[in-house]
């Protein structure tokens, strides 16, 4: 059984795994990080989305043996210093969560989107979220929440860097 060592939510971890083990199962069953959900198991629904070296991937399709040396971020690693991420607050404030099963994957896809494209249009939001299915909300509130979080992030970066150009 190979050992795989990677950085999970900023912390180095090392775990012995079977070569055919998928990342989502290692996260949930071996490392106790159950925020990452299994929906379809075949890369359709996005409930298992995690960030691998900053990019969203379906952790149900990634062999755990392949993440050696990589940075993995799950929903457990999105809040910083006990403060919820603006996306997490916006999902609650906008009512973008109903049953909640898709939410961890939604938040990670949205985070990847905003990291790459801080001021997305509604079309860009919908394209960025195309790999995450929600069977409760109908997506309208999810799009609203992501837009609200983008606005909040833009405001706080202006506060943090008062010299920054407006609207950038």
């Amino acid at each position: 059984m190979p050992d795989v060592a990677f950085v999970l939510n900023g912390q180095p971890v090392e775990v012995q795994i079977a070569p055919h083990a998928f990342l989502v199962d290692v996260l949930r069953d071996r490392l106790g990080q159950t925020g990452t959900k299994v929906g379809c198991g075949t890369g359709e629904c996005g409930a298992c989305t995690v960030l691998l070296d900053g990019r969203p991937v379906n952790s149900c399709l990634v062999l755990a043996v392949r993440v050696g040396g990589c940075r993995v971020v799950t929903i457990e690693g999105v809040a910083a210093d006990g403060e919820l991420h603006p996306l997490q607050r916006a999902f609650m404030d906008c009512g973008a969560v109903q049953c909640g099963y898709c939410t961890p994957g939604m938040i990670l896809s949205a985070k990847a989107l905003l990291d790459a494209c801080p001021a997305p249009s509604d079309v860009e939001i919908r394209e960025g979220m195309a790999g995450n299915l929600c069977r409760c909300t109908g997506y309208v509130k999810i799009v609203q929440a992501i837009r609200a979080a983008a606005d909040e992030l833009a405001r706080s970066s202006r506060t943090a860097f008062p010299g920054a150009r407006r609207g950038s």
Binding site: P2, A18, P19, H20, F22, G41, T42, G43, E44, G46, T49, L52, R55, P56, V57, N58, L61, V62, L63, V65, R66, S109, A112, L113, E127, G128, A130, G131, N132
Partner: protein, 289 residues
Amino acid sequence: MKAFGYMAPRSIEEAVGLLGRESAVPLAGGTDLLVAIKRGAPAPEWMVDITGIGLDRIEEADGALCLGAASTHARILASDTVRSRFPALMEALTGIGSPQVRNLATIGGNICYAVPSADSVPPLLALGAEIEVIGPAGSRRWRLEEFFVGPRRTVLGPGELVTEVRVPLPAPGTGTAFLKAGRRKAMSLAVVNVAVSMRAAADNRTADGVRIALGAVAPTPLRAYSAEQLLQGRVFTADLAEEAAMEAAKATAPISDLRATARYRYDLSKVLVKRAIMKAWERAAGPGR
């Protein structure tokens, strides 16, 4: 999940050696292969990971865009050359899977999996792409038209590995377009997909270098040669585009399945080919050329 072994070679030579074993298959993004195994397809004894052997280069060389076979769709989409010179390829790759899938899935995988609906294939056919293969007997190069044998079947022999997709840089004044009809806007397999590449001759009225390719309408993606001939060297008109689209549909041999009937695919082929020709011509000869 069925058990299999995993090997991560560090060079192409090492990978070819490992793939020479019986029951070893190359693993790239895994978005088709691993899903198939999860759904009950037999697992190989060994997975040979080909994502760490230098097959992820994206570069211009010798008048061609060279895409390493293990380049992910997301990385190809981020390439300036693709964005500026290969709009049809960009349009096709943008519609493959989801952002998560495009971060894993590779161009070589999309081609080698050889499903008739593969979205990357019609634009690559229309652009005259070639496939570089390495194997126990050395390397060889295939025209993409000759690469597919049937649904999920290619010319690749035991132990052979696709290393690169070479796409000639389009001649100046070339317009390309890709259109796809699926059941949804996103995360959808093509019911029909079409790509066209053509250029306007010096008079800006005559069609030249015409290539028309269709997917999901036959056992393999195909070129509509007789439709191309109808346009080639003639003064372009919308009526001629319509005629070529009718001719292209005749080259199809669609099946009925849960996504569409054969008849619908046939009719849709005409509509999409006509629209793709008009769009490619507009890009070739229009005011924005």
